[in-house]
C-alpha cells in the first residue's frame, strides 16, 4: 500500500524493522501521524501496536529504520534528549500502570511534581480539573488498589494529559469502560484534540468508537501498514485487509493464528487420519 506523505507529520515512521525473539514484529513499517489530528492505529492482536508506541517513546529501539518525532530521530537520541522529548508526550498504558504507593491525586500530580515547581494551590487546581474531566474528582484520595479497572484507566488518562502534552498516545483507552464512561473518554479525547490541538495516537479495537473521533486510521498487519484512510474509507472495505478485519473473519490475508506448525500434527493425528 503506497503511503502518501503527509505535509505536516508530527511522527514519521520509515522502514521500521524490529525483531523480537527472532520474530519480525515490524518488517519495513512506514506511516505518518499528522500534526493536530487524531490518528487511530488498528490491527489484530499481537501485530505490534503497543510495540509501535514504545518505539515512538524510545522505550524500545528498532533494528533498522528511522522514526522522527517532531523532527528528532528517536532511536538515536541520548538520555537527556529522550527525557526532554518524553516530557512532551503523554502515554496511557494498556494496563494503567498507576503507582501503587500513591493515591489517585498524587498519581495525577506525579508528572507535575517531578517536572514543574508549581505552587501547591495551582497544582491542586490542575489535578482536580483533570480528575473532574474523567469524572473521578471524588476519588482523589482513594488508593489504586481501591479502584476498579475502568476507574484506574481513567485515572491513568488524567495522568497522561496533566501536562497538556503535544502528543498523547492512548493504548486501548476504551477497554473496561461502561458506555457512559466510554462516551466521556471519547469526548475528552476529542476536546483535547480540538481545543488544545493535541495530536493523538489512538490504539483501539472498537471501530465504532474509533469512528467517532479518529481523523485517520492506519491498519497494520504482518509488520506493515496495510491500509490507511479516514474511518469511512476503511469501513467501505475496499481491500481484502479491511474487509477481513472489519468483517471479523478468521480467514483472509490477516492470520488469526499465531504462526504455528500444522494443527492436525500438533493434535497427534497423522495426515491421512485427519
Amino acid at each position: 500500500m503506497p503511503i502518501e506523505a503527509v505535509a505536516d507529520a508530527l511522527v514519521e515512521v520509515r522502514d521500521l524493522t524490529t525483531l523480537l525473539s527472532g520474530k519480525a514484529v515490524f518488517d519495513g513499517l512506514s506511516l505518518d501521524i499528522p500534526r493536530g489530528k487524531v490518528t487511530a492505529v488498528m490491527g489484530p492482536s499481537g501485530t505490534g501496536k503497543t510495540t509501535l508506541l514504545k518505539h515512538i517513546t524510545g522505550q524500545m529501539r528498532p533494528d533498522r529504520g528511522t522514526l522522527r518525532v517532531d523532527g528528532q530521530n528517536v532511536p538515536t537520541l541520548g538520555r537527556e534528549a529522550l527525557y526532554a522529548l518524553r516530557e512532551r508526550i503523554g502515554y496511557l498504558f494498556q494496563n494503567s500502570a498507576l503507582l501503587t504507593d500513591y493515591d489517585v491525586f498524587e498519581n495525577v500530580a506525579f508528572p507535575l511534581r517531578q517536572h514543574a515547581r508549581l505552587p501547591e494551590v495551582l497544582l491542586r487546581n490542575i489535578v482536580l480539573t483533570k480528575l473532574q474531566a474523567v469524572g473521578l474528582r471524588g476519588a482523589a484520595r482513594l488508593m489504586p488498589s481501591e479502584l476498579s479497572g475502568g476507574m484506574a484507566r481513567r485515572v491513568a488518562l488524567a495522568r497522561a494529559i496533566v501536562f497538556d502534552p503535544m502528543l498523547i498516545l492512548y493504548d486501548e483507552p476504551f477497554v473496561g469502560l461502561d458506555p457512559i464512561a466510554l462516551n466521556q473518554v471519547l469526548k475528552l479525547i476529542r476536546t483535547l484534540n480540538r481545543t488544545l490541538g493535541i495530536t493523538s495516537i489512538l490504539v483501539a479495537h472498537e471501530f465504532a468508537a474509533v469512528r467517532q473521533v479518529a481523523d485517520l486510521v492506519h491498519l497494520i498487519a504482518n509488520g506493515r501498514c496495510v491500509a490507511s484512510g479516514t474511518p469511512e474509507q476503511l469501513a467501505r472495505g475496499e481491500s481484502d485487509w479491511t474487509r477481513q478485519f472489519f468483517g471479523g473473519e478468521a480467514d483472509g490475508p490477516v492470520p488469526f493464528q499465531y504462526p504455528a506448525g500444522d494443527y492436525a500434527t500438533a493434535l497427534g493425528f497423522t495426515g491421512a487420519a485427519a
Partner: protein, 260 residues
C-alpha cells in the same frame, strides 16, 4: 539502559552465571551512585523510604536487641563467674554488642524485614509497568526508585544497629544488675574504662554502614532484575535473604580481621 538489566541471557555454568551476576550487581551499584545527584532532587522520596525501611524496622530491632542483651548477660555472667570476673559483665556485654552482635544481627534482621520488602516492591513495580510508566513520564526509575531505597537503607542501618546495641545494653543491665545482682557502679565503671569510642563504637558503626550498603544493594538489585512474574518476584525475595545473609557474615569476618 533498563532493558539490558532486566533480561539476563542464560549463560554457561553456575560459576560463570554467578560471576556475571556479581558483575551486573557492580554495574548496577555504579548506576545508582551515578544517579545520586539526580535522586537528591527527590529528597521527599528518600525521607519516605527512610520511614519505611528504618522506622518501620524499629520495633523488631528493639525487641530483638532487648532479648539478645538479656540472654547475653545470662550466658556471660555464667562464664565470667567461673573466673570470678563478673565485675567485667558490663564490659563484655558492651564490647560484644558494639563490635559484633549489634551490626550483624541488625543486618540480618534488616535483610529479612526491609530487604525483602524492597525486593518485592520493586519487582512488582516492574511487573505492573510502573517503572516503564515512570520512564514515560521522564522520571528515571534508577534515580527515583532504586537510589532512594538504597540510600535509605544505608542511612538507616547504622542508626538501627545503635538502637539495637542500646536496647541490648538495657536488657543486659536488667538481667545482670537487677536480677543477678552485679553491682550497678561496677557494671558501669568497668565498662566505661574499657570501651573505646573509636575502636569499639565508631568501628562498629562503620561495620553497620558497610552492611547497610551490601544488604540494600542486594535487595534493590534483586528487585530491579526480577523477572516480571509472581514466581520471579518470589524467587528474587528469597535470594535477597540468602545472599544478603551470606555476604554480611563473610564481610563481617573480613572487616573484623582487617579493621578492628
Amino acid at each position: 539502559m533498563s532493558a539490558d538489566m532486566k533480561t539476563r541471557a542464560p549463560r554457561g555454568g553456575m560459576l560463570v552465571d554467578g560471576l556475571a551476576q556479581v558483575g551486573d550487581c557492580g554495574l548496577f551499584l555504579l548506576n545508582m551512585l551515578g544517579a545520586i545527584p539526580r535522586s537528591l532532587r527527590h529528597l521527599r522520596e528518600i525521607s519516605r523510604q527512610i520511614w519505611f525501611v528504618g522506622a518501620m524496622s524499629l520495633v523488631i530491632i528493639m525487641i530483638s536487641g532487648l532479648f539478645v542483651g538479656m540472654v547475653l548477660a545470662l550466658q556471660l555472667y555464667y562464664t565470667l563467674s567461673i573466673f570470678g570476673g563478673t565485675a567485667a559483665l558490663g564490659t563484655v556485654v558492651a564490647l560484644s554488642l558494639y563490635r559484633e552482635l549489634g551490626p550483624v544481627i541488625t543486618a540480618l534482621l534488616f535483610a529479612g524485614r526491609a530487604g525483602t520488602a524492597m525486593t518485592a516492591e520493586i519487582g512488582l513495580m516492574r511487573a505492573t509497568d510502573q517503572l516503564a510508566a515512570m520512564e514515560m513520564m521522564a522520571v528515571d526509575p534508577i534515580a527515583f526508585v532504586a537510589t532512594p531505597r538504597f540510600l535509605a537503607g544505608v542511612i538507616a542501618m547504622p542508626l538501627l544497629a545503635n538502637v539495637f546495641s542500646l536496647l541490648g545494653l538495657l536488657g543486659a543491665h536488667l538481667v545482670g544488675v537487677t536480677w543477678l545482682g552485679v553491682d550497678n557502679g561496677t557494671f558501669w565503671s568497668n565498662m566505661t574504662s574499657n570501651v573505646d569510642v573509636w575502636k569499639d563504637i565508631v568501628n562498629g558503626t562503620w561495620k553497620a554502614l558497610a552492611f547497610g550498603v551490601v544488604v540494600s544493594l542486594i535487595a534493590v538489585f534483586q528487585g530491579y532484575t526480577a523477572p516480571p512474574t509472581s514466581e520471579g518476584v518470589a524467587y528474587a525475595t528469597t535470594r535477597t535473604v540468602v545472599f544478603a545473609s551470606i555476604v554480611v557474615l563473610a564481610l563481617d569476618f573480613v572487616m573484623t580481621a582487617f579493621l578492628m
